[in-house]
């Protein structure tokens, strides 16, 4: 049953939502509209001359091979982060769900990375994997792997993916664990009696029943890989080498604050905004319909 509150005064409901509206207006609509406006301006690096150029910034972007490359980098990065992050955390959740003794200890340890700041997480992996002082690098070099993320684009991508996945596993783990624990034990017992082994039970019973959780996490992880990994990239590879880890968000920052090309940077922000809006729409459409069962 829907609960309905009827206000007698006409201004009170507006007053109550005013703080939230103010925050949204000041911190979202205002900057967003500024970005929209800015994306159609061309400005020199010293902001001495400004020119209105309509959609030229966008046209330039899609003609720029480096921008298109950063699209590809983002696609590879977010796919890897989402797939690896979800797979590992589902695996960990499935194991943690079966642990009988010290379960709380495992769960606590698995949730800890979430409390680590993004930049700190990145530095942690830089220390482990730095080609000259990293502990893991020493091992890799001893095994004959010429590990150097500072000059090897693939290595750089591996580093940022590892850091980003490690940071996000806790979040995914929590949701998967909750999802697993919501599945009645008797369903699995019934499947066991029906003849399904553990692997079969997982794929035919557990996994389909987890699909609403999985879908939610896929969207959250894509958004995370797109936007929240800025700190990791900035603190570890700074987008390099040769732009190998320059994602769309990182390029917005680079072009805006370092190249001082505000028009292009704003245009890129607008494109990102469009991507987020699309993702949100997709998520809500599917969440509304849910996975039917």
């Amino acid at each position: 049953m829907e609960k309905r509150v009827v206000f007698r005064s006409s201004w009170l409901p507006y007053a109550l939502i005013a703080p939230q509206m103010a925050i949204t207006l000041v911190f979202f609509f205002w900057p967003a509209s500024q970005a929209l406006w800015q994306s159609m301006l061309l400005q020199d690096a010293f902001a001495a001359k400004t020119q209105f150029v309509w959609f030229d910034n966008f046209k330039d972007l899609f003609a720029d091979p480096r921008y298109l490359a950063s699209f590809r980098v983002t696609a590879v990065f977010s796919t890897l982060v989402t797939v690896l992050g979800l797979t590992l955390s589902l695996l960990l959740a499935a194991f943690a769900d079966r642990v009988v003794r010290f379960g709380a200890v495992y769960k606590t340890l698995l949730i800890w990375p979430y409390a680590v700041a993004t930049a700190v997480a990145a530095i942690l992996f830089v220390f482990l994997l730095n080609p000259t002082i990293g502990v893991v690098s020493l091992l890799l070099h001893a095994m004959g792997v010429d590990w150097n993320y500072l000059i090897n684009p693939t290595h750089a991508m591996i580093l940022v993916v590892i850091a980003a996945v490690w940071k996000q596993i806790s979040y995914n783990f929590l949701f998967f664990l909750a999802g697993l624990q919501a599945i009645p034990k008797s369903l699995l017992e019934a499947a066991a009696i029906d003849g399904a082994g553990p692997a079969r039970r997982f794929w035919t019973i557990v996994f389909p029943l987890l699909s609403p959780t999985t879908f939610f996490l896929v969207v959250v992880n894509i958004v995370y890989a797109f936007f929240d990994t800025f700190g990791i990239i900035d603190a570890s590879t700074s987008g390099g080498p040769v732009q190998a880890t320059t994602t769309l968000v990182f390029k917005v920052y680079q072009d805006g604050t370092q190249a001082m090309d505000l028009g292009s940077s704003a245009a890129q922000s607008v494109i990102l905004m469009a991507i987020v809006v699309t993702l949100t729409v997709v998520q809500f459409r599917f969440i509304e319909r849910k996975v039917q069962y």
Binding site: P184, E189, A190, I193, D194, G195, G197, Y293
Partner: protein, 355 residues
């Protein structure tokens, strides 16, 4: 189809034993009900047969195999759960076909078996539905369908009717009887409801605190309860228990006053006993013959008969009187039992005292 056997089956969690050695045989095609109050170990016993709980000691035999070390899927049993345990993301058809598909049955065979089960359980129009679109009774029938399509050696029922309302429960009891008549499969049925036990069982195992207090046909258990616990658990309304002492010559003097004549058992004079009288074996009598004299505190009219609650000493005694009789609340009622149907129990051990 197969026989089942329990040989001194025990279950313990660490040092704490919860089932203290159950031994019995279940014949091919027999319907055995395990009945007892919650926490008596009846569900644990059933889950040990299913392979969902380890057997700590003793042996369970299905057919001619000891199944202690077998996985649930290799025991050739099917189970119906209290909460139905239907797969929510599969249709009714898929739910019933799941076990067959895993066992590698041919598609035509699966369809034939599911259709046959759907026919028996009147599920044919519902095969494409999802469990959430079904009522409680329908879900229960699907759960039974899932059990019968495999034609297992034995059916295990774990309180299958306790999530249903009273009317549906009666109907499903009938359906289960019908299904058993048609398939003739050996069945083990766990319930805490003695009415289900009485109506469904060929034989019942009355459990209390991890022990089988009595194993026997329902009417035999009703007529000859082995212990005070069984006597109190089977029969509704429950048997009246009145403490007393042997007074010699087939008489027991009740602590709350009155003398009860009994036809069976010998009680040493002065020995403490508990007299058990079923409400249906009490009848009004003259004040001179009365074993129980007390004022009527409550009258429950059930139509076919009337339950009179009479205060006797500190305790309440229930008498089942014919439907027409309607004693007024507050009046004094004098009652006497049929001496042949007076049960005597040892006050210390609860064991039946019989000749």
């Amino acid at each position: 189809m197969a026989k089942l056997a329990f040989r001194d089956v025990r279950k313990s969690y660490g040092a704490h034993e919860v089932i203290h050695g159950i031994t019995t045989d279940v014949d091919d095609g027999e319907f055995v009900v395990i009945v007892g109050p919650s926490g008596c170990g009846k569900s644990t016993l059933l889950r040990m047969v299913a392979g969902l709980e380890e057997i700590s000691a003793g042996e369970i035999v299905i057919g001619d195999r000891v199944v202690n070390r077998l996985e649930p899927k290799d025991r050739d049993i099917a189970m119906v759960f209290q909460n139905y345990a239907l797969y929510p993301h599969m249709s009714v058809f898929e739910n019933m076909a799941y076990g067959l598909k895993i066992r590698g049955f041919a598609k035509d065979d699966i369809k034939a078996r599911v259709d046959r089960a759907a026919g028996i359980l009147e599920l044919a129009p519902l095969l494409e539905r999802r469990p959430r679109q079904l009522s409680g009774g329908q879900r229960q029938r699907v759960a039974m369908g899932r059990a019968i399509v495999r034609e297992p050696a034995a059916f295990l029922f774990d309180e299958p009717l306790s999530n249903l309302d009273a009317k549906l429960r009666v109907q499903m009891r009938f359906e289960i009887q019908k299904m058993h008549r048609q398939t003739g499969t050996t069945s083990l049925y766990v319930t805490h409801d003695q009415v289900e036990a009485m109506t469904l069982a060929h034989r019942m195992i009355v459990m209390n605190a991890g022990r089988a207090e009595q194993i026997g046909a329902p009417m035999e258990v009703y007529a000859n309860p082995a212990t005070q616990f069984v006597a109190g658990f089977i029969g509704s309304p429950a048997m009246n228990f009145l403490p007393g002492k042997g007074a010699g010559a087939g008489r027991v003097a009740l602590d709350a006053g009155g003398i009860v004549m009994h036809a069976s058992g010998t009680v040493d004079t002065g020995k403490s006993v508990v007299v058990g009288i079923r409400p249906e074996h009490l009848a009004p009598c003259s004040a001179a013959d009365a074993a129980i004299t007390g004022s009527v505190e409550l009258v429950e009219q059930l139509g076919a008969d009337t339950l009179a609650h009479v205060s006797h000493g500190g305790a309440m005694v229930v008498a089942r009187l014919p439907g027409g009789s309607m004693p007024d609340v507050g009046t004094t009622l004098t009652l006497a039992p049929d001496p042949a149907r007076v049960y005597l129990f040892d006050a210390a051990t609860g064991a039946r005292i019989a000749t």
